[in-house]
Every structure is written in structure tokens, then in C-alpha cells.
């Protein structure tokens, strides 16, 4: 149809003849700009390796986009910025120690399968970055969740340089090949020496994400037979998860590359709100629901009863901020109507809390978003806005339409 009446880049021969300044390219590149603070925070907290992972991921995404354009004979769309966003967001969902092949295959999967197999921009059935994450989580699950790298500032506070701390983060990868291992063992020796001289405990290196710590705490406590025992179990585990709210807020905790710094994500989100690209309804409902439910039920797995949860700890840890502001709000895979958005946000929050408290993985954000993505068409099908003149407010005085 569009081709019949104008085709590419034809001047509109029909009304309206003027257009708002906001275009697709501007929206996409605005999102890229909004992700810069989180990228900077990632490199600061997880060292140069984070930069490498981000680089590989974005590069793969853009190349894959180009290849798919050529294979499918579509106009070259790498300039619209959407592939860069997917590459960035996918990297943000990887641990800083992610090996290159996980990054490459995940990023490729996100663009080629999740995005282009369904028709490209605007047609993907789930968020491509999260689709990629779910794919690599299934394919290399050990690499993705078992061991978390500590942060560079933490290591530096123990006397390591930025480069050394960055190396420790790679070295802690449990699935490195022998070849890679031999290459880094030398650095590792220096690091070990440094650590020993500074009397750093081994726990500090292996680390655990804040939510991983919570999870193991829940597990320990679930073995308790009464409340007193539970509290004692809890106090036993608690020192291991001693992340302050401030560390959680600025992102100085182990976790995925781009998701730990709530501050950096908020900065980006505020920029998007100022540019009118993002309306914060969905993030607010999502995070609010999660906080409320954690407050109500968060204490239960620990045996501490109702209304004993720590909502602040929960909303600042894991991928909730990144998920709520940059993943769930993805235009393509979120409902259109305000009513739908409210319900969608509520269900996302609920699902996230259920997975976090009672599910198999410590973190529920990606799974809840990917899962809910599939229901978006149903939201759009049934939650439609009221059409003018079709509601109760329409007063028919007498007679009616001819």
C-alpha cells in the first residue's frame, strides 16, 4: 500500500504536510545515549573486560544485522541504531567474565533469530537482548550464573591496580580452556601474591551476586524447623551478603555487566524521559509492585513472617532497574494501552518476585519479561481504548444517525 502511494522517501502528497521532529532514528540513538552512563559504570566496576564484552557484543550485533539485511534483501538498517541497542543490552546481561564465544553466539542469536526470523525491527516477538540472554543461559548455564566476579573497585581497595583487578575478573572464569588458563596463570600468580600480602579472603574473589547470596540464605533458612533456628541460620549467612544499600545503588556489587548500577540506569532513564522517549508508567508500576510484594512476602522464605521483606535490597539488586527501564519498556514487546501497561507492569512485578523468592534462579527479571512478552498480543487484542462516541457519554437526544 505504502509503495503504491509514495514509496521510499517520497514527499507526502497527502495530509498532514508537516511532521513532529521526533523520528525513529532519533529515538533509537537517544536510547543508545541513555545507555552510556551504564556502559561507563560497567567499565568502571568490572574493568576493561567489560569493555571487551560490550565491544564484541555490539560489533557482532551490527555485523549480524548487516548480514541479515543482505540475505533477506532488505534496506540496510544498521544506521537506525536498533542493532547497537540490542548489542549493548545483551552485553549488559552477561557476567563480566563471559567468554567471547558466549557473547558472539548470544548476540548473533538475538539479532538473527529473535529479531530477523520474525521480520526485523518492530516484528520481534520478544525483546531480542533478553532472547539472547535466555539462549546463552540455556546453552552455557554454568558460565552464566554460577560464579560472579567481584568488582574492580573492591579489588582495588585491597591493593590491586585497575589492570590487575580486571585480570582477576577474567581469571575467575571457571570454564576457561586450558590454553587460556595457561596464558593467565602468570598474572594470576602475581594476583594471588598480592592478595595474600593484603590478607584478602578467598570469598572476596569468588563473590556472589547480591541475589545469589539472598537465594542461598533462603535455602539455608528453609532447612530451619522453627523461627529461632531460622534467625540463627540467617545471622550465620548474613555477613556473606554484606552489601550496603549505597554499594547496591551505585553498582559496586558482583552481577551482570550493565545491570548493577541503579544510579547509572536512572541517569539514562531520566534523559529518555526528558527527551520524551520514555513514559515511566511501566517502570514505576513494575518496580512498585515488586517492592510491595517483596515487603509482604520477602520475609516468608526466611521464616520471619509477613511484611518482613527488604524491598530496597531487592529493587536495587539484580536486573530489576535495567529490566524495568530498558527491557520491559521496549516499544515492540509491551502493550499499547495505558490499561494494558498497568496490568502488564503489575504482572511483571509479581512474576519477578515469585521467581526470585521461590524459583530456581536467583533472578527473575529476564524470565518474567520474556514470558510476559508472549502475552502482549492478548493485551492489545482485548484492552482497547474507548472510542469517542461509542461509550456511555454519547447522548442520543432523539432519532439517530441516518
Amino acid at each position: 500500500m505504502a509503495k503504491a502511494i509514495g514509496g521510499k522517501a517520497a514527499t507526502a502528497p497527502f495530509s498532514p504536510h508537516i511532521h513532529a521532529p521526533l523520528t525513529l532514528h532519533r529515538i533509537m540513538w537517544d536510547v543508545v545515549i541513555a545507555l552510556i552512563p551504564a556502559t561507563a559504570a560497567a567499565i568502571y566496576f568490572f574493568g576493561y573486560n567489560a569493555a571487551v564484552v560490550i565491544g564484541i557484543s555490539v560489533g557482532t550485533a551490527v555485523v549480524t544485522e548487516l548480514v541479515m539485511n543482505l540475505i533477506l534483501k532488505r534496506p540496510i538498517s544498521i544506521a537506525d541504531g536498533s542493532a547497537v541497542i540490542t548489542g549493548l543490552l545483551f552485553a549488559f546481561n552477561l557476567p563480566p567474565s563471559a567468554p567471547w564465544y558466549v557473547t558472539v553466539f548470544g548476540s548473533m542469536f538475538a539479532i538473527a533469530v529473535v529479531k530477523w526470523a520474525f521480520g526485523g525491527l518492530g516484528h520481534n516477538i520478544m525483546n531480542p537482548a533478553l532472547g539472547g540472554r535466555v539462549f546463552v543461559l540455556a546453552a552455557w548455564s554454568g558460565a552464566m550464573v554460577n560464579v560472579w566476579s567481584p568488582t574492580v573497585p573492591t579489588m582495588m581497595s585491597k591493593g590491586l591496580s585497575f589492570m590487575q583487578a580486571s585480570d582477576v575478573i577474567i581469571e575467575k572464569v571457571p570454564y576457561v580452556t586450558n590454553q587460556v588458563y595457561s596464558q593467565i596463570s602468570q598474572i594470576s600468580n602475581t594476583v594471588q601474591t598480592n592478595i595474600l600480602t593484603n590478607q584478602v579472603t578467598v570469598d572476596m574473589i569468588t563473590g556472589a551476586s547480591p541475589l545469589g547470596s539472598l537465594k542461598s540464605m533462603y535455602e539455608t533458612m528453609s532447612q530451619a524447623t522453627n523461627a529461632v533456628q531460622a534467625v540463627s541460620h540467617a545471622s550465620h549467612v548474613a555477613p556473606k551478603m554484606a552489601y550496603s544499600y549505597w554499594d547496591l545503588f551505585i553498582g559496586n556489587v558482583p552481577g551482570c555487566i550493565g545491570e548493577t548500577s541503579a544510579l547509572a540506569i536512572l541517569l539514562g532513564a531520566i534523559y529518555l524521559m526528558w527527551r520524551k522517549v520514555l513514559i515511566p508508567v511501566l517502570p514505576v508500576v513494575y518496580i512498585g509492585t515488586a517492592a510491595l510484594l517483596v515487603w509482604i512476602f520477602g520475609g516468608l522464605p526466611m521464616g520471619l513472617g509477613w511484611f518482613a521483606g527488604d524491598p530496597l535490597y531487592h529493587i536495587l539488586s539484580g536486573g530489576l532497574f535495567l529490566g524495568a527501564f530498558f527491557m520491559a519498556t521496549d516499544y515492540v514487546t509491551s502493550p499499547m494501552s495505558i490499561k494494558g501497561t498497568l496490568i502488564y507492569g503489575f504482572l511483571l512485578g509479581t512474576l519477578t518476585v515469585i521467581i526470585r523468592l521461590w524459583g530456581g534462579y536467583p533472578e527473575g527479571v529476564s524470565y518474567s519479561i520474556v514470558f510476559m512478552n508472549f502475552f502482549v498480543p492478548i493485551f492489545d487484542r482485548y484492552l482497547k481504548p474507548k472510542i469517542y462516541g461509542k461509550g456511555k457519554a454519547a447522548v442520543l437526544v432523539k432519532g439517530g444517525a441516518k
Binding site: 514527499t11 498532514p16 504536510h17 511532521h19 518492530g122 481504548p385 454519547a394 447522548v395
Partner: protein
């Protein structure tokens, strides 16, 4: 003062009203006028003259055919040099009467007609005779609007002074310069309709118009003047009714279904002239404007003047963008400058090149902006998907026919998808299909 406004959607383009301060002046008489016989919605008028005839300014040259049609008069004195078929902006093969100007210029304003004792039917007859149509752009014959079915009780008459289209200022200037004429026109319509209450809605970006009209209607308790929030499409009939009265015209219905008649300022002025000076609709005010136009302003132009004549008189740079008859949101592109000014031409807008926008037709990213700005509460992205797949029936179920084609969705679409054009296509397709089905049924 609390500003009235419609409840849902709308956009606020830069209003670009460069000519708000420019008084209405007369354009030169054109050398030649080309008057098409359907400048209105409904049946085209029947041509009453032939080549070689001498005509006087104001002489009937096209006779209304049937109820929904309008009379057409010679806008200048002169000689008919041809009756030919040509295209207009909206229709193909329309009768044009071409008149070469020459002869007397008539003075319409020397005596005033006292309508105070004239019965409403006679007044309506005068409006009909003068060939008045809706001059906001829709060009619906006014006498039809002013004679709603008897079983429907009209209780409010609304004056549309919103003029929400960017660039256009002719209604604004008319209200500032001729407030008494407008109020007199309102009184005539009040008499015809027998309504007791008049609501005048003017957007707040025209404070001088609000002041002038308020002053002119002082002491008449039946006339209420409201400032409206500046928001496109505030001047859409349905939006204006909702903003002022809170009533909603039923889907597929008319304002008369909720007891309301709406007329725009230019039309009311034409009714005033038709009754008080017995002057048929032979000229209209329009805004000739654009960033690059130095002589931009508000002008009185004879109906049928080729746009080229205006260009010669007021100038137009060689390098420019689209030239539009009407406003940039709902107007039509002028593809040929020989096209004449018609009864519905509220402005000629010359856009600079950079203000034009290209239809790139990127994929829909479901950003939801179209749905957010739709004043009717439609889901343009969804209707687009359905019309794309030729699922017109589903689109109609989803409200396709309720679209008022205001263009807000296309205006904001970041992918620059020609949404309104697609809906127009879809509506046309549906109507043709319905017509074919009706024909087959009987």
C-alpha cells in the same frame, strides 16, 4: 479562567501563525476566474451559462441539484469564455465555468436588509440562495446543516472560532475585525434554528479575538464565549462539542444527534453577508502564508481566482516545498497552480523545503504515540496493520470509520508511516464494497 478542551489525545504543532497581526485586505481582481461546479460536498451544481454569455458579478451560474448541493455565482463581471471539464483537487472531470473579467464592480454594501421581521424559513431560503457552504474546509452545504430533521430538538448553537490548524489566521482576523458582523450572523442562525443558547469557542492563542467577540456580545446573556486550550484538533466538530458541552456525538452520527449545530466563523460571516447585504458567496478570506513569503497576510479573494494569480501578486520563491490549499494538517497539496481558490480554501500555505517531510515508511516500532494522540481513541497502529493485510472488516470493527482524518497520528509517527492516507484508502475501499453489496442485494 479554566480553559475548556477536549479530553483525549491531540497534538500541538508549532502554530506558525505569522499573519495574526495582518489586517484582511482585498486581493486584485483576477484577469480570469475558473469556477468549478462542485465546491461543496454533494451533487455538483448544474451549469446555467454557455461560452459567450455576459455575466454580472453575483449572477447565478450554477444551480444546486437536489437537497445536498449548493448554488454557485459568478464572482466577477465579464464574459464566459468556456465551459469545460477539468479536474479539481478532489474530483476528476468537473464542469468549470471560465470567465474573463471585465465590466462593473458591484457595490454590495450600500443598503442593509432588516431581517428582524423575516420568518426563519425565509432566512434559510436566503442562505441557500447565496450558496453558502461550510468554509472551514469541509464544504458541507450550510442550508442543510441549518435545517436539521424536525424530530431532533436543537438546543445549542456552537461557533467554531478555534482555528487550530497551524499557519491559518483568517478566522482570527475576521473575529478581530468584524466581531459585530459575526454576532449578527449568530443572531440570524439563532433565529433560523430557534435555539436559546450559543457557545463560542476560541483558542487561547487569539486573545484579541476573544476580547473582540466578548465585547461584541456583551449584554446578550444567551451568548457565552469560551477560551479553549490551544491543541490540535480543537476545531474538529466532535472535539469542539466535547470541549464545550461534554457531549459526545454518537459514532456514525451527526452533531444534530446531540442537539447541536456547529458553524465556523468564516461561514457565519458569509451567512451574515448573505442575509444582511444579499450578497452571494463570491469571495472569501484566506491566509496566504509561508516562512518564505514576504507579502504573507490575510486577503479577500474572489472564488475561482487561480492560485497562480495570488502567486503573481504576493510572490513565491522558486525554491520552496509543498504548496497547500488549506492548513498543513488537513489541507491538500496543490499540484498545479492553475487550480482555483474555492469556497473551502481557507489558506494557501507555502512550506519551505525543510518543513516538508518525506514518507520513509520505516517499520512500525509500536511506540504507541499514534494511539496516544488520537482524539477519537482509535489505535492507528492496529488499523494500519489490519488495512495492510486488507482486513478492512476488522478495521471497521475497530473504529476505522470513526477516524476524522485529523492527521495527528501521521504527524507524530516516528517511522513516518502515511497512516491517514492508508485510512482514507481503507474507508474508500469499504464504501465501494458496501455500495457493491447493496447493488447486488437489490
Amino acid at each position: 479562567m479554566e480553559l475548556k478542551h477536549f479530553t483525549k489525545g491531540g497534538v500541538h504543532p508549532y502554530d506558525s501563525k505569522y499573519t495574526s497581526e495582518k489586517p484582511i485586505t482585498n486581493a486584485h481582481l483576477p484577469k480570469q476566474v475558473r469556477i468549478p461546479m462542485n465546491m461543496h460536498i454533494g451533487a455538483p451544481a448544474k451549469v446555467l451559462v454557455k461560452a459567450g454569455d455576459k455575466v454580472e458579478e453575483g449572477q447565478l451560474i450554477g444551480e444546486a441539484v437536489g437537497f445536498i448541493s449548493a448554488n454557485i455565482h459568478a464572482s466577477v463581471s465579464g464574459t464566459v469564455i468556456a465551459v469545460e471539464k477539468a479536474d479539481t483537487l478532489v474530483a476528476k472531470g468537473v464542469d468549470y465555468v471560465v470567465i474573463e473579467t471585465g465590466g462593473s464592480i458591484r457595490n454590495w454594501y450600500d443598503k442593509k436588509f432588516d431581517y428582524s421581521k423575516t420568518p426563519p424559513e425565509k432566512l434559510l431560503e436566503m442562505v441557500k440562495a447565496a450558496g453558502v457552504v461550510g468554509m472551514g474546509g469541509a464544504t458541507f452545504p450550510t442550508h442543510v446543516k441549518l435545517s436539521p430533521p424536525k424530530e431532533k430538538q436543537m438546543d445549542i448553537f456552537i461557533v467554531n472560532g478555534a482555528e487550530c490548524e497551524p499557519y491559518l489566521t483568517i478566522d482570527h482576523r475576521t473575529m478581530v475585525e468584524k466581531p459585530d458582523a459575526i454576532i449578527e450572523g449568530v443572531n440570524i442562525i439563532k433565529k433560523i434554528l430557534g435555539v436559546k443558547r450559543v457557545m463560542i469557542g476560541i483558542e487561547e492563542n487569539k486573545p484579541d479575538a476573544i476580547e473582540a467577540i466578548s465585547k461584541a456580545s456583551e449584554g446578550d446573556p444567551s451568548i457565552e464565549v469560551y477560551a479553549l486550550r490551544t491543541r490540535y484538533p480543537q476545531g474538529g466538530e466532535k472535539q469542539l462539542i466535547q470541549a464545550l458541552t461534554g457531549r459526545e456525538v454518537p459514532s456514525g452520527g451527526l452533531p444534530s444527534d446531540v442537539g447541536i449545530v456547529v458553524q465556523n466563523v468564516a461561514t457565519i460571516f458569509a451567512i451574515y453577508e448573505a442575509v444582511v447585504f444579499q450578497k452571494p458567496l463570491i469571495e472569501r478570506g484566506l491566509t496566504y502564508t509561508g516562512e518564505q513569503i514576504e507579502m504573507r497576510g490575510n486577503y479577500k479573494v474572489r472564488i475561482g481566482s487561480p492560485v497562480q494569480e495570488l502567486i503573481n501578486e504576493f510572490g513565491m520563491p522558486a525554491e520552496h516545498g509543498t504548496v497547500i490549499a488549506g492548513g498543513p494538517m488537513m489541507g491538500l497539496e496543490l499540484t498545479d497552480m492553475k487550480f482555483p481558490v474555492t469556497k473551502g480554501t481557507s489558506g494557501i500555505v507555502v512550506l519551505p523545503k525543510k518543513k516538508d517531510y518525506a514518507v520513509n515508511d520505516y517499520p512500525c516500532i509500536r511506540c504507541g504515540r499514534c494511539q496516544f494522540v488520537c482524539p477519537i481513541g482509535l489505535e492507528p497502529w492496529y488499523l494500519k496493520t489490519l488495512t495492510d493485510k486488507s482486513l478492512i472488516e476488522e478495521a471497521v470493527e475497530r473504529g476505522l470509520l470513526d477516524c476524522i482524518e485529523c492527521g495527528s497520528c501521521s504527524f507524530v509517527c516516528p517511522s513516518t508511516i502515511p497512516l491517514v492516507a492508508m485510512f482514507r484508502f481503507g474507508k474508500g475501499f469499504w464504501r465501494r464494497k458496501q455500495a457493491a453489496a447493496a447493488k447486488q442485494a437489490g
